[in-house]
């Protein structure tokens, strides 16, 4: 049986969960360990912590958050943000993280994906891809349907730096060189509450042999259904709908189940 995972995402800045729209107007949303425990109790299948702390002075703060979470929350969790070396990955995994997310460092030096996978196994390597729509160039956007003529470009450094890399090709390559999972965020949709970029999600799910987490744009529960069904994502990630208390994880799962998507009941 294939079951779709529901994953709340916690953006952590200097040890506190923050919420904001497209990284502006950050507001304190709470203690990460308390929120992790609450989402676990609500039936979350996994958690993602994204360390958005600008300064590396606070790197140890995240390790402490990971360690405290591992003492209380017994579901899988991924930690991303600032992972640039095998040693960074080791520190987080030893503290109790199950997977590490890598983004900018993977684009700058793809060997890092292979190095972490070799050391700790591909199952703990989540490559996070931030992608933005652009008109297709030659050799891109060869799919059919609504996504025809469109391609997606990989951005790094929290979405600030364009790379020129095609997101679909990059996802395929990541899976080949050691990624165990892809966390795909549509920058066009992130923070808009308009729903996932389904064309992007579907395109990468169809060509990428490893599990895919869809992210960016969830504003209502039907968006989760669309990501799982039309987008063929293996997991759906959302932040604000949970942090703002609009919906519990249990309500999200009930909605998915009612739409015919197999989930672990909350």
């Amino acid at each position: 049986m294939r079951t779709v995972r529901v994953i709340p995402c916690l953006d952590v800045d200097a040890g506190r969960v923050v919420k904001g729209i497209q990284f502006v107007d950050l507001v304190d949303a709470g203690d990460p360990v308390e929120m992790a425990a609450r989402y676990n109790a609500q039936g979350a299948d996994e958690l993602v912590f994204l360390d958005i702390t600008a300064s590396s002075d606070h790197r140890q703060t995240m390790v402490d958050v990971v360690s405290r979470t591992a003492e209380q929350v017994f579901i899988p969790f991924t930690v991303g943000g600032g992972v640039r070396s095998v040693e960074d990955a080791r520190r987080l995994l030893r503290a109790g993280a199950d997977k590490v997310g890598i983004n900018t460092a993977a684009v700058e030096r793809p060997e890092l994906i292979t190095e972490i996978a070799t050391e700790f196994g591909a199952q703990c390597v989540v490559v996070a891809i931030d992608a933005r729509r652009r008109p297709a160039a030659d050799g891109e956007g060869e799919g059919e349907g609504e996504g025809e003529g469109v391609a997606w470009e990989v951005f790094t450094h929290g979405g600030r730096t364009s790379t020129g890399i095609d997101a679909v090709h990059w996802a395929e390559r990541c899976a080949t060189i050691g990624a165990g999972e892809i966390l795909l965020t549509s920058m066009d949709r992130d923070g808009t509450r308009d729903g996932f970029d389904i064309d992007l999600t579907r395109r990468i799910s169809d060509c990428c042999p490893v599990p895919l987490i869809a992210s960016g744009g969830v504003g209502e529960l039907d968006h989760l259904v669309a990501g799982a069904v039309e987008g063929a994502a293996d997991a759906v990630l959302a932040a604000s709908i949970f942090h703002l208390g609009e919906f519990t994880v249990g309500e999200a799962k009930d909605h998915l189940a009612a739409a015919g998507v197999a989930v672990r009941p909350a």
Binding site: R2, T3, E71, D98
Partner: protein
């Protein structure tokens, strides 16, 4: 004391923390000599079969694990640690396993995504006693991350459906193993680890100083 064998791979902290959460005196152990003092042994493992098999051997903990199994010490293998109990794996044919359970580790069926990285339901093998799964709810949802699994044998006590029936757990006397991660399977997993802690507490003279019922079990474990 429950020795969680620390042979230098991945995330071992979660197995240790989860066992402590259900009240056992679990400790990461990297010194083979200390395994002999343990009332129970847990062999975790993530990644791939070959590197784990090599790391276990190079650490000196392989022979300590085999000695503990030979003495009848309650033993729990998790994920790759479970696979290592078998004779070998298609993943790395050159690396032998411990061979304490007959059978081979095989790739998951074609036509489904590899790895299976999700929660799935345990199907208990009919008419098979299981100390490991005693008191688990029905359905019991647990978390899997794997591309290979041991073939089904007479030791198999539960399976999951992923392109066909896949071995999820096996038991032979005090030797237990799970392909899923009980330490990452919420309250159901904690209940299963509680069963192991009770097996350890009830086995032989070296009972843990700390009572395994020292903390309330989380709700829903059925224990």
């Amino acid at each position: 004391m429950i020795a969680v064998l620390d042979y230098g791979i991945g995330n071992l902290r979660s197995a240790e923390k989860a066992l402590q959460h259900v009240g056992s005196d679990a400790r990461l152990v990297s010194d083979p000599a200390r395994v002999a003092d343990a009332d129970g042994v847990v062999l975790p493992g993530v990644g791939s079969f070959g590197p784990c098999a090599r790391a276990l051997r190079d650490s000196g903990l392989e022979s300590a694990a085999l000695d503990a199994i030979a003495r009848g010490t309650p033993f729990l293998g998790i994920c790759i640690g479970f696979q290592l109990l078998y004779e070998g794996s298609e993943e790395d044919p050159d690396q032998p396993g411990l061979g304490v359970l007959p059978g081979m580790v095989r790739a998951l069926p074609r036509g489904v995504k590899h790895p299976q990285m999700q929660w799935n339901v345990l199907d208990r093998v009919a008419d098979r006693e299981s100390g490991l799964l005693a008191g688990t709810p029905d359905p019991a949802w647990v978390y899997f991350v794997h591309s290979f699994a041991p073939e089904m044998t007479s030791d198999t006590t539960s399976t999951c459906d992923y392109g066909g029936p896949i071995t999820a757990s096996a038991e032979r006397g005090p030797l237990w193993g799970t392909q899923f991660h009980p330490e990452k399977s919420g309250s159901v997993g904690l209940g299963i680890l509680g069963n192991f802690a009770r097996e350890v507490a009830g086995a032989g003279p070296g009972v843990s100083a700390r009572p395994v019922t020292g903390r309330p079990a989380p709700s829903g474990t059925g224990s």
